[in-house]
């Protein structure tokens, strides 16, 4: 039995005519301690997928099992790093992390809590900014706080929803390394959602592409068996890396092209003549338009 199991999961939004099937027949098994990256286009339903796992959404069909038990809602066993940081702007870094600590260790003493907060903030190298408000931090620093907050609950599993997509390439590189370092310390199970194939290759054990929605399903998985710690500059020279990267990208482009061809619909344009404002003949028009109200 895998740590996290998604069996034939489907999810749709809306009802009746507006119903959009976002995910269809998703099957995913993640073992404990594994780092899995799901790569897909924007709008392919990646966030929906991760919300199913963190418990903010529930599947229409199929089941999401964690340790063999169905997920009934958000819980302290799953830490979430949101795409847009989602820090509370009126709280300092310390208080943002404290919210999570208070939840995870309600009975801990004040000093103990303080120690834990400082430990997790230190872990993401933000001790110098612990009393600052999120507005005073850069994007990268904010996302670090978000990671610290997720880790502070001491979850069994870390869920990351495009955590680095809003950052510049350099910051992204450092943060990728830091997250992998933190992961390798206690080997938590990680599910990373990303739109960056390189990010998946640098960080994950397995890369699974998500075919574009509607009715998105998971594609064949790609194993990433480079030795850790991976250094991007060295991997870059590795022909195996290039091969894997090209394989994933080719696959994505192929399914992306399929989407275009399958969703192409010929729209019939109505036969309209443009109105010339100056030429309207008011008298005649009025005679014609006898509108009966009621």
């Amino acid at each position: 039995m895998a740590f996290l199991e998604l069996n034939n999961v489907s999810k749709s939004y809306g009802t009746g005519k507006d119903k959009v099937e976002v995910l269809k027949d998703i099957n995913l098994h993640i073992e404990e301690g594994e780092f899995v990256a799901i790569v897909g286009f924007t709008g392919s339903g990646k966030t929906t997928l991760i919300n199913l796992v963190n418990g903010l959404l529930f599947p229409d069909e199929g089941e999401v099992l964690l340790n063999g038990k169905p997920i009934l809602g958000p819980g302290p066993d799953r830490g979430v790093v949101f795409q847009n940081y989602s820090l509370l702007p009126w709280l300092s870094v310390r208080d943002n992390v404290k919210l999570a600590i208070d939840e995870a260790y309600p009975s801990a003493s004040r000093a103990e809590k303080k120690e834990r907060i400082e430990k997790y903030v230190e872990m993401v190298h933000l001790s110098h900014a612990i009393d600052k408000k999120p507005a005073e931090l850069s994007g990268g620093m904010r996302q670090r706080v978000s990671v610290a907050r997720a880790l502070a609950m001491n979850p069994d599993m870390l869920l990351m929803d495009e955590p680095l997509s809003a950052l510049d390439a350099l910051t992204r590189g450092t943060l990728q390394e830091e997250i992998v370092n933190i992961w390798s310390q206690d080997q938590k199970t990680c599910l990373l959602i990303t739109n960056d194939v390189d990010e998946g290759i640098v960080m994950a054990d397995r890369i699974i592409p998500l075919k574009p929605g509607p009715k998105a399903t998971l594609g064949p998985e790609f194993k990433v068996d480079f030795e850790r710690p991976r250094v991007i500059t060295e991997i870059n020279k590795d022909p195996a890396y290039k091969h894997l990267r090209n394989e994933v990208i080719e696959y994505l482009i192929k399914v992306g092209a399929n989407r275009k061809s399958t969703t192409h619909v010929d729209l019939e344009l109505p036969d309209l003549q443009p109105i010339m404002p100056g030429r309207l003949q008011w008298g005649k028009k009025k005679e014609k338009e006898k509108v009966k109200y009621f």
Binding site: N54, G55, L56, G73, P74, G75, P76, R78, V80, F82, N84, S86, L88, P89, W90, L91, L99, A100, D102, E103, K133, A135, R149, M153
Partner: protein
């Protein structure tokens, strides 16, 4: 020092002084001088222009009214009476002044006379306090109420009473509207079930609120020692003004950013923590906007309500002056108008400053 001063000045909404501070410090003299002229001197020009138009307008109205009076005297009593009337108006006699819009100079004069009046009344009060000091001490020993000064209140006393009333009303509005707004905002069921009430009562005129409150208070409070007219006026002010806060609070609470709610769910915050750590801070800007509107509405309706409720304050001052019909009554009414306007403006500034202080997103407050 300079930067700190600029920060304070900006915080208080006196941003137009900024170029002056920079100018004094010899910073970019040319640019700051033009900025100062733009931001500070042009408003002064516009004030002068305003007073000029007012002065000539008042002059025109005065002349028109005077001519009419003279014509009327001529028609009713003949040529001699008309000449007498003309002379009387020219001499500035109290008995025959045309009753019209007062000129700026007259208003200024009325303002000074009101200040004099205040001084005279305070002197009287002090005198009275000195006189009754011994008796009051004795009465206090016996456990009786002290004798109080019951003379006519001065203009400044009226202002104080008005401000007191408006704050009492404002606090009442805040205490009713914010909790209810939060509760309604949290539950869409409650929101839809009470929406009709808000929509119907929101546009009701202050006068009607006053009458409603009067009906209730009259029956409820029979104790003659309580200041009934004060209670009626501040409760009506509160009821009139609370709707803006109520609507804004419920909207603010109902539209908290979904990301924040997701965080709250993922961290599994308790209901109390969810409200106090997430929902309330997130809706602070809107709540404060509501409170700001509430305060300005409270000040606006206060005058009308005081006028009708016969409770002391600026409103009844205006009404009494209007009924009084003395020579400088009109000028005093205009003084009251400016005082009302300036205090209203100051109240709004105070609220804005508090709002800036409390809000997490400083840039959002305008």
């Amino acid at each position: 020092m300079k930067d700190k001063l600029i920060k304070i000045v900006r915080f208080c909404g006196l941003g137009f002084l900024e170029p002056l501070i920079r100018l004094i410090n010899g910073e970019e003299p040319k640019k700051n001088a033009t900025n100062f002229v733009k931001k500070a001197l042009f408003p002064v020009f516009s004030i002068i222009l305003f007073i000029g138009i007012w002065h000539s307008g008042a002059n025109y109205l005065f002349n028109k009214e005077a001519t009419r009076k003279i014509e009327k005297a001529r028609e009713d009593q003949g040529e001699e009476a008309a000449i007498a009337m003309q002379a009387c108006i020219k001499a500035g006699s109290v008995s025959c002044q045309p009753n019209t819009l007062p000129s700026p100079a007259q208003v200024w004069g009325a303002y000074l006379s009101l200040l004099d009046d205040h001084r005279a009344i305070s002197a009287k009060k002090d005198e009275f306090a000195a006189k009754t000091q011994k008796i009051n001490a004795k009465r206090a020993e016996k456990g009786e109420d002290p004798i109080q000064y019951t003379g006519r209140p001065s203009f400044l006393d009226q202002i104080k009473t008005s401000i007191k009333t408006v704050f009492a009303g404002f606090l009442l509005a805040a205490f009713i509207a914010i909790p209810i707004g939060i509760i309604i905002g949290l539950s869409s069921t409650l929101r839809s079930s009470f929406n009709w009430l808000i929509q119907i009562f929101k546009p009701v005129s202050p006068v009607v609120w006053l009458l409603l409150v009067f009906m209730i208070i009259k029956t409820l409070i029979t104790d003659p020692d309580l200041d009934k007219s004060f209670m009626i006026s501040f409760i009506s002010v509160g009821l009139c003004a609370m709707w803006a806060t109520l609507v804004n609070t419920s909207m603010g609470v109902a539209t908290v950013d979904k990301d924040f709610m997701n965080v709250s769910k993922v961290l599994r915050l308790s209901v109390g923590k969810n409200i106090f750590k997430v929902i309330l801070p997130a809706s602070f800007p809107l709540i404060f906007t509501g409170l700001r509107i509430t305060l300005s509405v409270a000040w606006m309706v206060l005058i009308a309500i005081e006028l009708l409720a016969q409770s002391p304050g600026l409103g009844s001052f205006v009404w009494e002056e209007f009924q009084n019909g003395a020579n400088d009554s009109n000028a005093k009414i205009i003084v009251a108008m400016f005082v009302i306007g300036i205090i209203g403006f100051a109240l709004d500034r105070i609220m804005l400053t508090i709002q800036k202080f409390m809000s997490f997103d400083k840039s959002e407050v305008a």
